[in-house]
């Protein structure tokens, strides 16, 4: 990491946002820093901030620039940045571990072979590694409740596709740049569709509309297409056969 020189970096994003970036590449410390900084800032921000969020390695602050000048919010964020080393901040409290049954490949997830080839692996070897990977919710974004999960091994640092896949279904497990995304709804994507789950990240009809939180961890064990069809058929709550436990440590 060379973040010591250029980062953290505060820049305008759109007319009504400031982005505090902790790195320009995904890294464990930068992700921790973004989560912790946003959490701390939420408690102590000037009036005029409308909403906040985190992405993989940055925290975002949307505000009304006509009532809260850029310079004033920037000064408040700079002051908070100086209060500690955010790269060593702890992960959020109350994290959970999810195990979500997944069909790899088949017509359910037709780009497994392609992704495996780009990773220099046979499809079988790729599944062995993916189903054993324990990944963390690095951020939630793109679509409601939808997690970016990482990091997978360096062999899975494969690029996004040039052209978008017109649509993958809800519950699709897609892969690029050593990360998974678990799709919350049917959508076009440039990531490769390697697995399919029956997990619903966004449940607008349930009291808890958003299933996951940044810092949660996930494992995607492999099931057969037959087992998966049974899970789908009996799923009522959107968990898609997943189990969940508290992470203590």
């Amino acid at each position: 990491m060379t973040h010591a020189d250029a980062f953290p970096l505060i820049r305008p994003l759109g007319l009504d946002g400031l982005l505090v970036s902790f790195s320009d590449t995904m890294s464990e410390p930068a992700n921790r820093a973004a989560l912790a900084f946003r959490e701390a800032a939420r408690l102590d921000l000037p009036d005029g901030v409308i909403e906040t969020s985190t992405s993989l390695a940055s925290a975002y602050f949307r505000f009304d620039p006509l009532t809260l000048p850029h310079s004033e919010l920037r000064a408040a964020l700079e002051h908070l940045l100086d209060t500690r080393d955010w790269y060593t901040a702890p992960l959020p409290e109350g994290r959970r571990l999810w195990r979500v049954p997944t069909v790899y490949g088949t017509e359910r997830a037709p780009q497994l072979d392609e992704a495996a080839a780009l990773a220099g692996l046979s499809p079988e070897e790729a599944v062995q590694r993916l189903r054993a990977s324990r990944v963390r919710v690095l951020t939630i974004g793109f679509a409601p409740g939808q997690p970016y999960l990482g990091s997978l091994g360096p062999e899975f640092d494969i690029p996004r596709q040039q052209d978008l896949t017109p649509t993958v279904p809800a519950g699709a497990l897609v892969l690029a740049i050593s990360q998974f995304v678990l799709f919350s709804g049917a959508a076009p994507t440039g990531w490769r569709h390697v697995g399919q789950t029956a997990f619903r990240c966004f449940r607008p009809d349930q009291e808890r509309s958003f299933a996951l939180a940044p810092g949660d961890e996930m494992i995607f064990p492999s099931v057969s297409p037959e087992e998966f069809s049974e899970i789908e058929a009996r799923d009522r709550d959107g968990n898609g056969g997943a189990t969940v436990e508290e992470i203590t440590a």
């Binding site: 994003l13 969020s53 620039p65 939630i140």
Partner: protein, 335 residues
């Protein structure tokens, strides 16, 4: 009180100013594509601009009033009539019980709005009535659906002048965090290129087409996914710009070359397929001044409404009206 939609176009949704506060959970704000039109409708009815309205993409429908209700029509001008008599656009009208409002195809632009006195009173979800179709929040309004009115009677019989923003034009943009990933020559070319709105467009985003090569950043396919804001101009692998709109994703990994400033988004969304569009970079300071002027104009809209004087040609049964001493002259009007 409510309106019954007897028939309706394929892309009509209920929209207010959107649903801030869920960006951290991946849910973008949604809200009316043309916020100016939303404010104009509120001004015409004498109500607050946070009222929900029916957003009609390209085509409206037929709507029957169950009881007397005041309505307003704004945004992309569409063919409109009440019981067969032409109804002025950018105006508010009374619908008496049983009357039918017919809204046809857009004559210019894309998004027309039907406002009801008191606002559309559907149940809010996470603090807003805005549909967000890509997030599966709400749905398109279908034939047979009721549009209930909220509290408030409003006012009718007013019109408002509305700026033309329905044929494309120049969109002011500011640099964003990924602008520096593009070369100076590429940024120059962005400003000098004549774009056309492409066929792919919805409330998530609109694709632009152009002659010549696409726009690419260094390391385009492997940059870190980062926060998106509506108005961002995203370059996908094909090099065609997409302007991201109210139902856009909240983060994304395709680089954004610049951001259309909020006060120019009504012009962007209302550009119909094939309309020409250009981009012009402005400084953050200039953009803030433009936005301040726009918001000041929104605040002045309630004072800009004028009484709607009906054109006699639009009155279906002129002979039944009691005019001056019962005498009707076809020649001495308007002197």
């Amino acid at each position: 009180m409510s309106l019954i939609a007897h028939s309706i176009g394929p892309a009509c949704t209920i929209q207010d100013q959107g649903r801030p506060g869920y960006l951290d959970q991946g849910l973008s704000r949604s809200g009316a594509a043309d916020l100016l039109a939303l404010h104009e409708g509120a001004a015409l009815l004498g109500q607050r601009p946070d009222c929900a309205a029916l957003e009609m993409a390209g085509f409206g429908g037929t709507f029957e009033a169950t009881q007397e209700v005041n309505i307003a029509l704004t945004g992309a001008p569409m063919q409109a009539s009440i019981d067969g008599a032409q109804a002025a656009w950018n105006a508010s009208h009374v619908l008496t019980g049983g009357q039918v409002l017919t809204v046809g195809a857009a004559r210019q632009g894309v998004y027309g709005y039907l406002h009801l006195a008191g606002g559309i009173g559907t149940k809010p979800m996470l603090g807003s009535r805005s549909a967000h179709l890509t997030a599966k929040v709400g749905k398109t309004v279908a034939a047979g659906d009721l549009l209930p009115t909220g509290a408030g009677h409003g006012q009718a019989g007013f019109k408002i002048g509305s700026p033309d923003r329905f044929t494309g034009g120049t969109l002011r943009v500011i640099a964003s965090v990924q602008t520096s990933l593009f070369s100076a020559a590429t940024l120059d070319r962005l400003e000098s290129t004549a774009f056309r709105r492409g066929a792919r467009a919805n409330r998530m985003g609109m694709q632009l087409d152009m002659e010549g090569q696409g726009f690419a950043a260094e390391g385009q396919l492997n940059i870190l996914s980062e926060v998106i804001t509506p108005g961002d101009i995203q370059m996908t692998g094909s090099g065609n710009p997409f302007i991201l709109l109210p139902e856009c994703q909240t983060t994304g990994g395709y680089p954004r070359i610049a951001t259309v400033i909020p006060c120019d988004l009504p012009r962007a969304v209302q550009a119909p397929a094939g309309a020409s569009l250009r981009f012009q970079f402005v400084s953050l300071e200039d953009a803030l001044a433009l936005q301040a002027a726009f918001e000041a104009e929104l605040a002045r809209l309630p004072g800009r409404v004028e009484p709607l004087v009906r054109d006699p040609h639009d009155i279906a049964d002129l002979l039944s009206y009691q005019l001056v001493s019962g005498v009707i002259s076809a020649t001495d009007q308007g002197d």
